[in-house]
């Protein structure tokens, strides 16, 4: 069985979203990178370690949150985290300290002294995340961390993942079969399908290329558009009156809009960054028709 074939990809630091349908080979890729499964051919290296030979060294400085249920139900979260920290090689007193700290960072407070069996799905996901972070890894693999969570829980989990990279300074590789949720937090998106790389793009690139501003004014839309064109902006009118789009050809475009609107003394109803939805990466031809995208 081939789960991943001819996959050549460089994963940069920051949050990397690994997207693919179930069975696309995301989990297999993670297992190869953790040094748990040798690839039949080819090489893989992570943080400068060779995945074929340095498995033990890799697993000392990498965290892993599996997709599956993986928590003992009759043990309190603190006890469990102390044990997992020790399993990662931390001395006993440090393990105890970091277990409490890490649980606090993922948002578990008093409940951490109760057995995990009584936790909600959201709390269990937090404990799973905490055990991947407790030993202060340089990189964490999070396999479908939002699985089974309700929309509010998803948002909180995604917020936490963004913090891991931004505030904790730990690189993240996060998988999901939902592209939409990963584009919100990822710096880089890798799409695999059937074990084959489809696309590897920086989200910053993707949004810069296709970024546009959706502008809505109360009055004199034509005059505003004319003045923006004078400044060299590409402007596209839309069917709705008073609404038009300006291409983000320059970082200063939003301030141009504000200046023009102020000069003409009209009301600005909407100034919205219209991000090219990353789902469109799948399309070979970008859809030229203006479309509304929720940001």
């Amino acid at each position: 069985m081939t789960a991943v074939s001819n996959l050549t990809v460089d994963l940069p630091a920051g949050v990397v979203g690994l997207v693919g349908a179930n069975g696309a080979g995301k989990s297999t890729l993670i297992k190869i990178l953790l040094g748990l499964m040798p690839p039949t051919s080819g090489t893989a290296s992570i943080l400068g370690f060779d995945c074929l030979t340095d498995g033990l060294a890799i697993r000392e400085v990498v965290g892993y949150m599996p997709e599956s249920e993986c928590l003992p139900l009759d043990v309190a979260a603190t006890e469990f985290l102390v044990h997992m920290a020790r399993m990662s090689g931390l001395p006993a007193n440090i393990a105890r300290e970091r277990a409490a700290d890490t649980l606090r960072h993922v948002g578990l407070y008093e409940e951490r002294y109760r057995p995990i069996g009584g936790y909600s799905t959201g709390m269990k996901q937090r404990v799973k995340l905490a055990q991947a972070l407790v030993h202060d890894p340089q990189l964490v693999f999070l396999d479908e961390p939002t699985n089974g969570l309700d929309p509010a829980g998803r948002d909180e989990m995604l917020g936490l993942i963004a913090r891991i990279s931004a505030d904790f300074g730990i690189s993240v590789v996060v998988t999901s079969h939902l592209l939409g949720e990963l584009e919100r937090i990822s710096d880089h998106i890798v799409v695999i399908e059937g074990g084959v790389l489809q696309r590897s793009t920086s989200t910053a690139d993707a949004t810069r290329l296709s970024g546009a501003l959706l502008v809505e004014v109360t009055d004199q839309a034509d005059a505003v558009m004319a003045r923006l064109r004078e400044r060299g902006a590409k402007v596209a009118a839309s069917a709705a009156s008073g609404t038009f789009a300006v291409e983000m050809s320059d970082e200063a475009v939003p301030s141009w809009v504000v200046t023009v609107v102020a000069d003409l003394g009209v009301g600005l109803v909407r100034l919205q960054r219209r991000r090219h939805h990353l789902a469109e990466i799948f399309q070979t031809e970008a859809d030229a028709a203006p479309q509304e995208v929720q940001s």
Partner: protein
Amino acid sequence: MTTTPGDAVNDSVIHDIGFRHYDGPRLGRGWAFRSLLLETLRGAFGLGRPAKVKIMPWVLVGIFTVPAVVIVAVTIFTKLDSLPISYTAYPVAMSLIVSLFLAGRAPYAVSRDLRDGIMPLYLSRPIKRQDYVYAKFLGLALAVFIFIATPITVLLVGSLLATFPVGHEVWTWLGGMLMAAVLACLITSISLVLASFTKRRGLGVAAVLATLVLASGFANVLVSVVDMKSSRTNGSFFAVLDPYLLVDTLSGAWLGVDRYNGPSQPIGAVETLFFTAALVVLVGGMLAILLRRFRKVGGV
């Protein structure tokens, strides 16, 4: 997250010190192995677990130790000139309690990990797959050894209180410790294999208890029947079918102490070799099966 109290009267503030990084030593594979072994040992006695997990092991420790205390009391007050039971025979005489302890603790050590799917977490730590098997085995074997050694040590204390010759008592007690370790390794390996084939703890408990108790009864009957029919001690070879009888026979063969069971004549060199080989093959075979069992667990 900074928690600021709403009113100015209470000026206690919890400061978020942010995520702290760790750049101290990482102790690696050996330490992780030791931690897993210790965790298994603690788990066997319910330490760090809710109260209901503690009940069974400690009740059994009590049941297993009380007879030793009674024996000591009787020995001292009736002024016997030696202990009525040898250090090596005690766990064999009380084999049902030892089996009950194993039946509870072996599934607790492995079936739970299988059921809760914890293997991927261990595998993502700096250990190798076989480390898990050896740590679980040694951790539980150590727990069983402590379990068995406790009443044996009570017997030693009693014999010293009864002012029996110190040298002789300590020496035979050391023999008892050795055989307790051998017995612990043997029955732990068998029990872990049985428990590792089911995620359901109840099934594991039943399998371990049934196997140990049935093997015991079966082997004892065979040994007695064949011994009655034959003038020689051919029947004692069947002792290999029962871990307790096997270790009891080895006590006689290696240490020359009184056996709990079986004929009292000395054991020949051939038999000694046979039983020693049987012990090695059994423990080695069980560990091999365990390693094989865990080769694919964890979805990798």
